[in-house]
Amino acid sequence: MMRKKQFIAVFEVIAMVSIAVVTGWAQSNAQSKQQNSELIVWTYDSFISEWGPAPLIARAFQEEAGIKLRFVSKGDGGALLAALFDPINKPSADIIIGLDDKQLDKALKSGLFIPLSLKNISEIQKDLLLDTTNRLVPFDFSQFALIWDSQSGIEPPRSLEDLTKPIYRKKLIIMDPRTSTPGLGFLAWTEAVYKTDWKEYWKRLAPSVLAMTPSWDTGYGLFTKGEAPLVLSYSTSPAYHKAYENSERYRALQFAEGHPTQIEFAGVLISSQKKELAQKFLDYLLSAKCQALLPETQWMFPANIKTELPPSFSIVQKYPALIATIRDLDHDPSTAANLLIGNP
């Protein structure tokens, strides 16, 4: 009996080792071949998920230009920015997609991006062009909003201040401002509304927060699984449920203080060996044709003004805008997160 087990174990080990050696050889061969014809795009998780825009864009671009795209997720938005500054692993991609307006300054100061000359930039909504040197170009945007589960039986809040009420105890999911761009956006929102008193607000908010998730994916997943009736997301999120579930159960809430906008940017890295091809792709990303793929995959507004919105976006409202920035990108996110951690 024992002998047989040992035999199986030895056999398995031998089998695995030989598989490992063969695949190792095959992979290293395959990798060196691939590297010449592919554009490598660094982005965040939800962009490359199966329902995200990456699969559609990759297919469409290959048909249009015959160039293969390889998307690599760096995790969440915070990790994407951090990857640019990694002292050891120098960024090895051609293109970065998905930095947002709060991260723009820091990303531009790195000097890692080249100025782009894209013909489709003329069709981009003017107020989105925050970088006048066109090193990072906007490709989509939306407004931050809280999404409310109308079947939860709980009264919808009407303002940021409402969220601190005792009836919302453990009812809210937000994202970690250190790691996720919506989390950062929420921090900017509170800084814009409460000015220097934002830390007091976060302390008052703490009891209402059920979870502070590392990424938007996780938070929204928790929300749709019914773990909490309120989640930080975008004014455009209900369109998803309209399109896929034909449901208006999840609704965006208008807040009295106004809603900050998130703009997402893309750029070409200075270290890229294929800058021409990379520019060609970004031009494609901004084209009305490619932008039409974004509303129902990113669930954001396209940046190109010529792109038509799908019917599902009919339930999306535009709210009064609020200009919001982070005062100290290096310290405020961890200060805010630490106000929530360990203070249930």
Partner: protein
């Protein structure tokens, strides 16, 4: 003489292999990566840190780390002790199975357990669905998983089989005499237990507790997924400092504090360990198991139901969820292979590549670990058998074996990254995982090596075998099965590890645990379970070899 030189050479090689990454990391953290700017930065962080100790997060996360480890350990002991007592006293169906659960913490990686718990205890999970069928509404559900207690429960359930296994083995060897003596002298049941049994098993409990405490102290993935609001462990702080702030100096400060605490724990653990050996040696013969009667049956069945509902249930739910295809727009809930299909043929089809790269990277790392582990345990063996002087080799080796329990995997991973040519993440991954796994190999093989009666070797020599021939026919042949077991164990450790690849932030290469982590983080549970099933099958081969491995680990 020649053996001694050889022994010292081996010691030096392993010493360099183990300590080089630590030195490289600390050097890079405090003296910068040859850039003047980062050097001043590092000094600034260091000074800053000492100025701000009271308000800094360090005290807070250290406190949280200790708090959750102590609570998790206590709960694990509480869950495990009844099981240990029942399995040491009675013969009943399922007894063997209960004991062999101890393989689970060793062969299923934490990420798999987390997944199991979410898909079972979550609001939409099997357990709460069952509860809502019985009790009606699930309105009062509080989301316990994402709190401090959720974390503690996961840790405790993950580790309690270790307690069952270790304490049961100890209880089996304690004779009834002290207990009976106490009863004869008029002690009540409880008092008799306190004087007759408790003192004998205390060192054993201490040892299991110490081990579990260390595992929880370094817990990373569980805290990353569940922590959120409750708090962050030092290990997660290190991750944040490295991945999101690129602040090596801060990470180094955290890891030095972490290691200091762990070393203290290990020191206590080794002291207790010496005591257990003594207690066990005092007796020897195992007690006879009896057939339970009446009330005892009730206790056994109760415990088994408890374990099945709260521990086996989650594991089982992975299998169910892997084949469950959640409802979408045009199809209701159904069962099938869709999750696997999506992973195999979907966009950038992650599963095939991940299986291959996991096999490749972990295979190489496990081979390396096995090689180092065997050399290390032989050198310990020879050093102990040889003259007194080379005992220092044995001592140093013994100490080195504790290294992966005392140093953050992040530090090891980053250290190797600095050393490796072109800062290649794959080679750093392999080296770091091999470094984490080799002590388990050397302990497993070493135990079976020590179990050999030295008279056999002498007998072979007397019968005319040369020392080398005697060694090959006696020692080598006896340990061969345990080498296979150790190699499989090393493979399951390296293949299930999500810590090192996450720390290295290597997104070009997907490994199975990484995919599992990403899918779980994205709340794509059914696909995560499908990938988890594949990983579980891969690492589960240790389960077959369980007895040998667990006894030493």
């Amino acid at each position: 003489m020649r053996t001694r030189i050889f022994l010292y050479l081996v010691l030096c090689t392993i010493l360099i292999f183990s300590l080089a990454p630590l030195i490289a990391f600390l050097q890079a953290a405090f003296f910068g990566l040859s850039e003047a700017e980062s050097k001043t930065e590092a000094i600034k962080t260091f000074l800053d840190f000492f100025k701000r100790i009271p308000e800094s997060t360090i005290a807070k996360s250290l406190w949280f780390t200790l708090k959750q480890s102590i609570a998790s350990t206590a709960l694990a002991i509480g869950l495990g002790l009844p099981g240990a007592w029942l399995t040491a006293r009675f013969r009943f169906p399922g007894r063997k199975a209960l004991l062999s659960l101890a393989a689970i913490p060793f062969c299923f990686p934490p990420i798999l357990i987390i997944l199991a718990f979410i898909s079972y205890y979550g609001k939409e999970g099997l357990l709460s669905t069952a509860f809502s069928l019985i009790f009606g509404s699930r309105g009062e559900y509080r989301g316990i998983l994402y709190s401090f207690w959720g974390l503690v429960i996961v840790h405790a359930f993950y580790n309690f089989p270790i307690v069952v296994h270790q304490i049961s083995a100890l209880l089996l060897r304690i004779p009834n005499t002290p207990l009976e003596a106490a009863r004869t002298l008029g002690a009540k049941k409880l008092k008799a237990f306190r004087t007759g049994i408790l003192p004998w098993i205390m060192p054993g409990i201490g040892q299991s507790a110490g081990l579990i405490f260390l595992y929880c102290f370094f817990s990373f993935t569980t805290v990353l997924v569940f922590g959120g609001r409750a708090g962050t462990t030092l290990e997660v702080e290190i991750y944040q400092a490295l991945r999101y702030r690129s602040n090596l100096a801060l990470a180094a400060v955290f890891s030095v504090i972490e290691s200091a605490c762990a070393l203290l724990g290990i020191w206590m653990l080794t002291r207790i360990k010496g005591k257990t050996y003594r207690t066990v040696r005092d007796f020897g013969a195992a007690r006879k198991l009896v057939k339970p009667k009446g009330k005892q049956w009730f206790l056994i069945v109760l415990y088994q139901i408890f374990i099945i509902v709260f521990f086996i249930g989650p594991l089982f739910s992975i299998v169910i969820e892997a084949f469950r295809v959640p409802a979408s727009l045009n199809s209701p809930d159904k069962f099938g292979f869709d999750n696997f299909k999506r992973l195999l043929t979907g966009f950038q089809a992650p599963l095939t590549g991940a299986i291959l790269s996991t096999l490749k990277l972990s295979g190489i790392a496990a081979l390396l670990a096995t090689f180092i582990g065997i050399i290390a345990c032989f050198s310990i063996f020879f050093a102990q058998r040889g003259e007194k002087k080379s005992n220092i080799v044995a001592m140093m080796m013994d100490l080195l074996q504790w290294l992966p329990m005392a140093v953050s995997p992040a530090v090891i991973a980053y250290g190797w990254l600095f050393i490796s040519a072109n800062h290649l993440a794959t080679s750093a991954l392999i080296a770091a995982q091999a470094l984490i796994a080799w002590p388990f190999v050397s302990r497993t093989v070493g135990a079976s090596l020590r179990a050999i009666d030295s008279r056999m070797h002498e007998a072979a020599k007397t019968l005319g075998a040369s020392p080398i021939k005697a060694f090959i026919t006696i020692e080598l042949r006896t340990i061969l099965p345990s080498v296979a077991a150790a190699a499989a164990f090393a493979f399951s450790i390296t293949a299930g590890d999500v810590n090192v690849p996450l720390m290295l932030g290597m997104s070009e290469i997907e490994t199975l645990p990484l995919i599992l982590y990403r899918l779980t983080a994205a709340y794509r549970f059914n696909e995560a379970c499908a990938a988890g099933l594949v990983l579980g099958l891969m690492t589960g081969i240790v389960f077959m070899l369980k007895e040998k491995v667990i006894d030493v680990a």
